[in-house]
Amino acid sequence: MRKMLLALAATTMLTGAAQAATVYPLDRATILAGSPFDFKVEFKENVKPEDVKITVNGQDYKAVFGSDVTFTEAEVGKDDKKLGSAVTLRKLMIAAPGEYTVEASAGDEKKAVTWTVYATPAEPKVKNVIFMLGDGLSVAHRTAARIMSKHMTEGKADGRLNLDDVDLRAFIGTSATDSIATDSANTMSAYMTGHKTAVNAIGVYADRTPDSLDDPRVENIAEALRRTTKKSIGIVTGAEVEDATPAAVVSHTRRRADKADIVGMLYDVKPEVLLGGGSAYFLPKETPGSKRKDDKDFVAMFKDAGYALATDKNELEAASGTNTGKILGLFHTGNMDVTLDRDFLKKGTVDKFPNQPGLVEMTKVALGELSKNQDGFFLMVEGASVDKMSHPMDWERAIVETIEFDKTIGLVREFIKTHPDTLLVVTGDHTHGISLIGTIDDEKPGDDMREKVGVYEKAGFPNYKDENGDGYPDSVDVSRRLAIFANNFPDYYETFRPKLDGPFQPSVQNEKKEYVANEAYKDVPGAVLRIGNLPRSSDTAVHAVDDVVLQAVGPGADEFKGYMEQSDVYRVLVDAMALAPAKN
């Protein structure tokens, strides 16, 4: 008894006395050998520089880190709030693989973290890596895409998606450093840097200061490729090219909304092929339509750097013959329109941007250009609007986007047949709370749409048709269609029908910054008001915390297995390309 009390007292004293400082990179970080990264220690109190002690594996830090830290006596937060002292060391590099325990202390504050610095195999397994990301891609998206595109008879699919024949490898844990819930910035950043970070952050650890561009940086895959190889880099997306997912390939910011800065970072890295939307952030402030707040003209700057510019499908076709090796394709001022609007309904902003290419066409041009490089390439392809249409619960658009993403996988698999020295990874960045639960059957009696939802044996099979064999349903507005619902939502009017007049806008904001149901859908026959189960600050359905499914084929793919943290995926990519070859 006496012993126990003593032990208890000792523990209490330790936790009471020693406040925890914060060390970046965080505990259990995994770091590619030789990659530059920023080191920072944040103390909660103001401390004296002479009291700061930092050791690495028991030695004074300078022996391992090679240079001095910069001391900041008092960091300042919002409204001049005093945050405490900090030390920083930018672009630190550790060449030797191993475990590194870093202990930092000052006054009664103390923190120890352990990092794993890893090398890669000496020899690459592949020349090319193609990383295909369905934003928000969840299991229900693929099931619905298979049934809508390939149909089903007596419980067996009438055809297979391309996705269905990419080997299933791993479940991916997507959580952020600050939350189990997650977004497209920190999740793609984990894939593209090997470090987890906070919601909204890209290529940095999220520190406490308000400046979004001063956070401790880690190397991303584009920088690693530029530092260690002569490979080409390609980015293809249906979103703005400065949106979170493509941004995470090249950039560093605490706030994904820093889109004007992200364009500058795209320019610094200069991916050989950059295709997507988002031209508004490339135009100088004076140009109507610009979203920059300065006079930089990035379209002109990219052209001056030798890029062939394409602004629509025809120009993309022409640019694919360029001999400069560099293509900038910007096809929309914002996010590109989705397949259902672009190729079928002609809604959204298709009247203003009538000739936008699709993901298949963009990826085809990218592969053609990138594969000219004898040293190989890294290509990131994003099916962006699987997510962008799942947020507003526009299921027909989200599923048609999934079909388009799948057709792009088909194109890539054809490429791999003639380029077997390629690792293909197909995955999502996070999931959505989406499920396919049956059908909605207009032929069921009455006007009450709820009673037309077919469940269990009453669901039967949907009646989508694909007479022209293009893989897309001839119409999404069929009489017995898929019943898909989100498990989380703001207040909205459920119409039980496809949104043929343009993408769904379920809610709008009131003066209290609360989202209320958008009454534009109130008078749709059969529409019912669903009271949300999300906080009233949520405008649309949110991301789920559920694991993501990762699939991969090609040399090196067998390193993916079981449950993996999203940040562990990076190591498989750099291993495959041997970006930090182990020295004997």
Partner: protein, 131 residues
Amino acid sequence: MTSRPALAAPPMLTFDELYGSVGVLGLKFSDKVKALAGQTVAMRGFMAPPLKAEASFFVLTEIPMSLCPFCSSDADWPDNIVVVYLDAKQTFVQPNTTIEVVGTLEYGSWTDPETGFVSLLRLRGADFEAV
């Protein structure tokens, strides 16, 4: 709701009439916007809630807007918005309500000095009412 004095009704400008051409490399203001610049015009649309409590303007949109939760910086508005500077403070109108704004039309890039919000089209000295 008070009705306006029965002066000659100002010319109506619609959201479809703002730009003559819309393209990847920029937008071009319509001839109608250029012709009406400096004059009092009326526009109908939806009032987005003020960005900040202290902002002296609000954003008029063609359809009721909701923005994605992670990109609600001022830069993520669609192209066809009009910034409205009110002459006198007016109460926010519920988001599902169409309003008519009357004010002096101004075009060209302009950065709001207090918020940094960049706009291309503005109605100044404006007032509005629900319709």
